[in-house]
Symmetry: C3
Subunit: 130 residues, 3 copies
Amino acid sequence: MPHLTFEYSANLEDRLDMQALCAETLRAALETGVFETGAVRVRALRADAYAIADGLAENAFLDLSLRIGTGRTLEVKKAAGQSISDAVCAFCAPLFETPHFAFSFEIREIDPELSWRKNAIHPRLRKGRE
Amino acid sequence: MPHLTFEYSANLEDRLDMQALCAETLRAALETGVFETGAVRVRALRADAYAIADGLAENAFLDLSLRIGTGRTLEVKKAAGQSISDAVCAFCAPLFETPHFAFSFEIREIDPELSWRKNAIHPRLRKGRE
Amino acid sequence: MPHLTFEYSANLEDRLDMQALCAETLRAALETGVFETGAVRVRALRADAYAIADGLAENAFLDLSLRIGTGRTLEVKKAAGQSISDAVCAFCAPLFETPHFAFSFEIREIDPELSWRKNAIHPRLRKGRE
């Protein structure tokens, strides 16, 4: 945790640099100060088949899901979400000028009793901080 | 919202027209009358690696997740879900004649306090309705 | 149900046999004794674009989500999750020797009132047990 997963319609690949979007989202997530560096994983899943709204071929979507651990206040979560949402929207600004693009973003918490993790990145980065 | 995401085993690609399935699912979702046209996004994510049930190579799955906003009654949600499930099952009818196919479908609500969206499709379609 | 979905960074494809990982995860899930054979569906979704932790190109993640029906005790769920987590970690052991790999795993329950399923694999396997 946290996990940031984009899903997007494949017709965005020509219009959006998905690798750069992931990097920018990682930057924005770390800048909130709420997450540990070694824990943040951003990725994007391309959907080759899709059907959106009124079905125009130009219609495209970008949907982001953020899953986090429990223990943060609603205010902290809302502020972090707003920052990440703002960063993604800024990155996608040219797309919003067309009437064919929709962005969405959801935060959900992970049940601490029903989750497991093993992270070999943490020791490397935590060592660097000592 | 609503977001309809299929996950499917790659061995379905020869047996199911995923683009047509997405279009049919969009049609069924809109026909429920519960969702605004500009908000519906259907997509399908292909899993190239998978292992199903007793592991036969012919085994295949189609799994649908629908995420919606809050505020609808259980009855409305159940009726909409049933309609969409029926449409997908009808589309997949030939596959159910084999003993190697499984379909599943889940509805989940999105926390309104922890979600953000920016939709440039809505203004175009709402204008059309005025 | 149950549904086991891996998401992974594409740079793992050279280092991990995703098909074998799915098969091993299926085996581990069935060995818990908690799930019916015909119901278990494991798959892996590859993310071609991603950004992880401090952004090193070697950084890689494997994230597993297990969605199950309701009705099991917390103890049963925790034990099943631990067994599956152990099996995946054992399979990935060489990766944990590098400081660039992170695994995570979450269990979530599906609302029985808002889910539908139609499974043509069950009759074949249930017949075999009579």
